[in-house]
Amino acid sequence: MHAARSSLGVAVVAAVVGIAFADSSIVVLALPQLYGRFDTTITGVSWVLTAYNVAVAVTAIALVLFVHHLRAAVVLASGILLFLGASIACAAAGSLEFLIAARCVQGVGAALLLAGALPVLVALTGSAAAAAGVWTLAGTFGAALGPALGGVLTELFDWRAIFVAQAPVAAAALLAVRAAPEAELAEGWRPKLRQTIPANVCIGLLFGALAGVLFLAVLLVIVVWGYSPIGGAAIVSVIPVATLAARPLERRLEPLYAVCGGALLLALGLVALALLPSSAAVYVVVALLFCGAGLGLSVPFLSRAALDTRSDLPRTGTLTIGVRHLGLVLALGLIAPLLASSVPAAGHRAELRATAVLLDAPISLTTKLPIAYDLVGLFKQAQDGEVPDLAQPFNAHGARNDETLASVRDELVGTIEETITRCFRPAFFLSALLAALAIPVALLFRRRLVA
């Protein structure tokens, strides 16, 4: 009976840990809907994402200084309460400013609950190593699952459903904390934190690369290629699947092989995303499979190395939470301007190529001119950063029954998608570089990592 209750408690706390990690990227697929709902700019709407990660990173790094003086259950419970309240506030948000403020509070709550969850999981599982394993698995899986989960909820219901769905999990976790035995951990300052720096640097780099996988791939598939949120979710859901599938191999590999091999796979997957030959989803799916496997191989060992399960779990756990989100935020800070700077030029190149396709199209003037005017009208109506449905004017003029017109439509849509897809290249390469940088760090500090 007690064992069953403990298992349930572990499952619920692991679920809330997974959700707190998933929240780093869960709104990615809802961004277009938020953009339309709040009539804002791309930069404005991106803060819904960034604010959470900044809040988690800042709070976690600040917590490292004193978390070991606090009672873990109190930290976890207060974190869940804040997270729960802020999730409800996010769901009820009537303005973008309010939503961003609520996301900040949610981030503070997430940092507290993630920091407090580790020692409570130790108490529930009876073993620091088992607790670290559960926490790591929930975190890695949650981070990879975020966009897919958010995409499904957004399309089935509304963007608000993303936050509503989190509330029951948080409430259940609150009940589990009340029933959990008191966490007994050695406390006080220990010079162990320095030991975890190489592992944390690698984690920060890999989570930075993960920003590229999650945000760039999702943006590409949904905004540029026009997939629905559920379609996008189906594509990115291969990441958590591959992450889980890589677990048995990770357990059998020597740590250094797992870390370096995983980072290499992640980097190669990102290079493959940078070098997409067309807008065919199959290439993205296969590349994301390698990215997910790379994460599944490298992050679990690094997480264990970043956690001092013997004596300093609260502080090492809190530090690694901060570093992960710092990696995400810093990578977003690099990737977003890089992408934003290449989009206008790519948009113009796409316009020029689309013009070439239409001018040379072997169709009559009486079809060509109205389609050209309709296309100009669509571009005028489209909001900043939005790719309009360019197939619509062709379909309205009979492309469904006219093979020649259909082929012009496909060539025009294809050239625009391909041109915009190419402008993601520098950002994907930068993400690949972040993943690849984890390899020399791991090799340089291999003794400290393996120790």
Binding site: L249, R252, L253, Y257, G261, L264, L265, L268, G269, V271, A272, L275, L276, P277, S278, Y283, V286, A287, F290, A293, L297, P344, G347, H348, R349, E351, L352, R353, T355, A356, V357, L359, D360, P362, I363, S364, L365, T366, K368, L369, P370, A372, Y373, V376, G377, F379, K380, E411, T415, E418, T419, R422
Partner: protein, 152 residues
């Protein structure tokens, strides 16, 4: 002498890495490193003529060759020239007067070329030249959307 066997998990990892490399090689072979189609051609270099038949084909051929000629004179591409005509375009703005002069010259040259190839009867050429000279291109461009609505 014993040969040290590579552990199976390492072989699986190596296979995964090789798979990722193969994916990249396949993508490069499928054109990831090549230019995006269609490439914008230089307007001063002759290109394959528009192949459409009938009156629509002739008109389009004259217009496209005329645009090429105008773009060549203005030192830009045909596509950049077309985009610069749209008031909402982000394309580089060219001087409207220079565009008008270049388009008239380009169209007149295209009409002459079509006559030489026997696609336009000789007796129509003076009328077409006059039409090109009298057509208020600037106004037509600005009123383009309204004109487009008249076409079924």
């Amino acid at each position: 002498m014993s040969v040290r066997r590579i552990p199976k998990p390492v072989l699986v990892l190596a296979a995964l890495v090789a798979g990722a490399v193969i994916l990249i090689v396949v993508q490069l072979a499928k054109g990831a490193a090549g230019p995006v189609s269609p490439t914008l051609l230089r307007p001063c270099v002759p290109r394959a003529a528009f192949t459409g038949g009938g009156l629509s084909g002739v008109v389009q051929r004259v217009v496209l060759e005329g645009l090429d000629g105008a773009a060549c004179k203005l030192g830009t591409t045909r596509e950049e020239l077309v985009l610069s005509l749209s008031p909402s375009s982000n394309s580089q703005r060219l001087d409207r007067k220079a565009i008008e002069v270049a388009i008239r010259a380009g169209l007149n040259e295209a009409i002459d070329a079509e006559r030489r190839q026997g696609n336009i009867p000789a007796f129509l050429v003076p009328t077409l030249h006059q039409l090109v000279e009298k057509t208020p291109f600037d106004k037509l461009i600005r009123g383009g959307v309204a004109l487009g609505n008249l076409i079924p």
